[in-house]
Amino acid sequence: MTPFQTMRLLTHNFLSSGFLKNAPTGYPLKLNAIKIETKEADFDEKFIKNMIPKINYECLKSTALGIDSNVHLPDALPEDWESNEAFLKEVHRVLMCVEIVEGELQCPDTGRIFPIRDGIPNMLVQEEEKMDEQPE
């Protein structure tokens, strides 16, 4: 049996549609999940601590709540996040264990849909849809 190809919420946190015409921000992409899988993944504290300063926390929290009502993340990043193990574990669960198999991502500015099929988000667009000058 083919192993499931999936998209984790961590990947969603980094994706943007800012390359489209008329998409001044293109972030965060709205996630409409149709099929979700949950997987067990080993808690890697070093990695989660490396990721927390890099992720957009607000986007993570709202996206996670949108697909899973059991998410226990505080509204803002707690001050003691580096030593708060319960918090780190919950971030780990949300980032690494919730996986999207089917669904779509939607540009917040233009409404352009990017389908996710078999866990692979398709971010390819036609030439005419792109901004002429691509941001670096």
């Binding site: 190809q5 961590l10 994706l15 943007s16 390359f19 990695f47 890099k54 078999d118 971010m123 792109k130």
Partner: protein, 433 residues
């Protein structure tokens, strides 16, 4: 303490970069002047064996390392030294411990009876009760003879030491392409892919991107070393593992094959985050700001795998797509000019890498016209390693590794002072036209 490092003689041009890359990962102080590509055995000083063990846990190019005990002038001299150092050997002389002796010659293989040498030396080691175990010994003692060349009668130098450990040559076997579930036309040789991961300084907990990920060949070593990986691929068939197979004698890719399957095969599923279908020339697909710790890549050169990006060819009338079909379609692709592939990659690294992060990629060159000016540059990136690997008589590739030293100022972008790659030159040279 003195340690003897024995290097593999393949890929000599990658040796220094790999060693320094690994030292950087573990913050090990090391003077690069001590290492060269002409000799294969070196003596380095470290305060204790822990940095040596760390290096051996990563290096594919170091064969093994030992704690240097003696430097005899001849085998007879070595046996004499054994007699004088009975005290030293006593700590290993126990019926509960086993040992073996390993013999190695450098620069001469001809006419040396290895087994006999190992037996003679093992006999002379002053042990009374310690047993020989050739498979899983507790202690391994190594004798190494370094010759000038194949015709030399007597060795120039002899070393005797106690083995610390072997390097990671086994990775070549474990990750061999023959047994890998899913490979593509240009999947990187596993040995080189691990060397690249070392040169790029990939470490546990890093986030690593390959913008031309294909079947994940460069991301697998990163995952093996504990990093988490994301791949971007423009080709739907490759990302989904459908269509014609790259394997000799196999027509189509089967259902078992997938990028995720590769990671699962090696027990690395946790480290594999996602593949995204994206155009490597469009950097806006990642949100602004530094995200990745390392970017590794082997961009297509247009020889065995064509290089493409989304864009328009000369249109044909039946190509018109209605607006409501956009979402479902896979856009047309156009030729991605080779030099732009690389300047774009530098721009991507300059904006999406963290400061101190590394970009490492393979860069095709035409040997005759190569000069330092044909290496891509970016004000925010500093070239730290440049390794050479010949491909054909006329062409070669270089593994270029850059470190991000600052955030790019607006308007700064990657450039190639003297572009040697445009207009299909590399492809023409490869096919000798």
């Amino acid at each position: 303490m003195k340690f003897l490092f024995v290097f593999n003689q393949t890929h000599p041009d990658f040796r220094i970069a790999e060693f320094l890359g690994i030292c950087r990962i573990f913050d090990i102080e090391f003077d690069p002047e001590q290492l060269n590509t002409k000799e294969h055995v070196f003596i380095f000083e470290f305060p204790d064996s822990s940095p040596v063990k760390k290096i051996l846990s990563r290096s594919v190019i170091v064969k093994f390392a030992c704690e240097l005990l003696f430097e005899p002038t001849s085998l007879d001299n070595l046996f004499q030294i054994f007699e004088e150092n009975v005290e030293y050997f006593r700590q290993f002389d126990s019926p509960d411990l086993s040992f073996k002796c390993k013999f190695l010659s450098v620069n001469r293989q001809h006419g040396i009876d290895y087994l006999n040498r190992e037996r003679i030396i093992a006999d002379k080691i002053p042990f009374d009760v310690c047993n020989v175990d050739l498979k899983t010994p507790d202690n391994t003692f190594c004798a190494i003879e370094v010759y000038k060349n194949n015709d030399s009668e007597v060795p120039e130098r002899i070393f005797f030491g106690k083995m610390i450990a072997e390097g990671q040559q086994k990775l070549k076997r474990i990750y061999n392409l023959k047994d890998r579930l899913y490979i593509g036309n240009t999947t990187m040789d596993p040995e080189l892919s691990f060397i690249q991961a070392n040169i790029a300084g990939i470490k546990a907990g890093d986030l690593v991107l390959d913008p031309f990920s294909g079947t994940g060949g460069l991301l697998i070593p990163a995952a093996h070393f504990g990093a988490y990986v994301v791949g971007a691929e423009i080709n739907y068939s490759i990302a989904k593992a459908i269509g014609k197979s790259s394997r000799h004698g196999v027509k189509y890719r089967n259902d078992e094959e997938s990028v995720e399957g590769n990671f699962e095969q090696y027990g690395l599923s946790d480290k594999y985050l996602s593949t995204i279908l994206a155009d490597a020339s469009i950097h806006g697909v990642y949100r602004s700001g530094p995200i990745f710790d390392r970017i590794v890549s082997d961009p297509p050169y247009g020889v065995r795998e064509k290089s493409s990006k989304c864009g328009r060819k000369e249109p044909k009338p039946d190509w018109i797509i209605k607006k409501d079909q956009y979402v479902q379609s896979y856009p047309e692709k156009t030729v991605y000019e080779l030099s732009n592939t690389f300047t774009d990659l530098l721009n991507l690294a300059a904006s999406k890498l963290v400061i101190g992060g590394c970009l490492s990629f393979w860069y095709p060159i035409v040997v005759q016209t190569y000069s330092e000016n044909s290496i891509p540059q970016h004000p925010a990136l500093k070239l730290i390693f440049n390794c050479f690997q010949p491909l054909t008589t006329k062409t070669a590739r270089r593994l270029l590794t850059y470190k991000k030293i600052q955030e790019p100022n607006s308007g700064e972008s990657g450039y190639i002072p003297e572009d040697m790659l445009s207009n299909g030159v590399f492809r023409q040279q490869t096919y000798g036209k």
